[in-house]
Subunit: 220 residues, 2 copies
Amino acid sequence: MNVSDATVARLPVFLQYLVELAGDGESSVSSDRLAELSGVNPATVRRDLAGIGITGTRGVGYDVKYLVHEISVILGLNQEWPVVIVGVGNLGRALANYDGLTERGFPVHALVDVDPDLIDSKIANVVVEHVRHLPEIVARESIAVGVLATPSTSAQEAADVLIASGVTSLLNFTPEQISVPDTVQVRGVDLATELQILSFYQQRSTAARAGTGLPLGDDS
Amino acid sequence: MNVSDATVARLPVFLQYLVELAGDGESSVSSDRLAELSGVNPATVRRDLAGIGITGTRGVGYDVKYLVHEISVILGLNQEWPVVIVGVGNLGRALANYDGLTERGFPVHALVDVDPDLIDSKIANVVVEHVRHLPEIVARESIAVGVLATPSTSAQEAADVLIASGVTSLLNFTPEQISVPDTVQVRGVDLATELQILSFYQQRSTAARAGTGLPLGDDS
DNA sequence: TTCTGTGAAATAGTTCACAGCG
DNA sequence: CGCTGTGAACTATTTCACAGAA
């Protein structure tokens, strides 16, 4: 089964609209319709689906419920990936209290910090532990994902400790970019990088708009 | 000048290491060295740099400071993109107090919410205004970027209001995926989508590791 | 007749390999 | 001699276009 990175990046988009369609009571959907909603080419939809082993019905389309189920399985959304949040300052606390992560299958199983005043306090029903216990915590809670919410200056150090403790993915909410040894598969949501890319496209779209009479133009 | 999306995605990584090299007092860097640090092929580095009009010196390499400057300009990091945060609950408040956005050139110029108890209160030195005034706020503060920090259920609605108010990029910290009309160029950092992609790779790396004796294997 | 599934063409992106500059 | 800049080969991804299933 052939799942390219490009396909993986589209699946969540497809899934979003499929869930919507399912909610609207639609039982089947054509590649044309799904392509239009998702903003991609219909052939790409068909290739992506064929690539992950999903087959439709000629003359009809694809079964919405089946699609939702299969894509969820492919993405691993039927399972939970417990996370540990490193750093329980403002941001860490907000993330701990925030349902977003849990709702999406990333329950917060542990919180760590270095501040003695915070250790043993309880946030969102989870006891804050000392960073030094990370290896045991990761093993005990079967933690796969580390959330970086430390001050910028400690982000790289925290990332290193997480990786050393056995965590295999990082979610970085720090403004810092962090580097991880390439021996470990890590997918990082790196806000700093995203912001720089955002800046590029924002600049480009602003430049494209300059000179037109429109306060807001569509991009070319 | 040819700047592909693939190149744009790599520039922040290059920049990160270039800043590090500059800090270490390195005045020049070869494509081989930068490639090794960034985890890409040296030819790709040279192509990327040539593509954005950066030229090096044969036998020597590229000038680190010049590279940092040029890439910063390309990415638009020399300018600020004022943001408005929509929703000042836990997460919105944390983001408002958080220096990450400002440090990276996205100063928080406005905060909006719908809760009358919050309107006119001051968070991080910014007065909370009512969402209904968004169009004026966006114009007044020259806001380019909207940060979504509302409860999930209001995320789409907030996104629509932002777009209608003239914002051209969104940063979505909500667990929801939002759809934006494709007539407007929007680059969304969508946590929900990122989490689903993270889940996929996490699952894949876990599967790859199963059966090996290693608690942590490198990915293939 | 509608819509899938897929060869084949087109396009994009990466990597090799090396001529040639400093 | 070391390292850039880039043709050319290669690989990946997208899109077209259409045969054929329901």
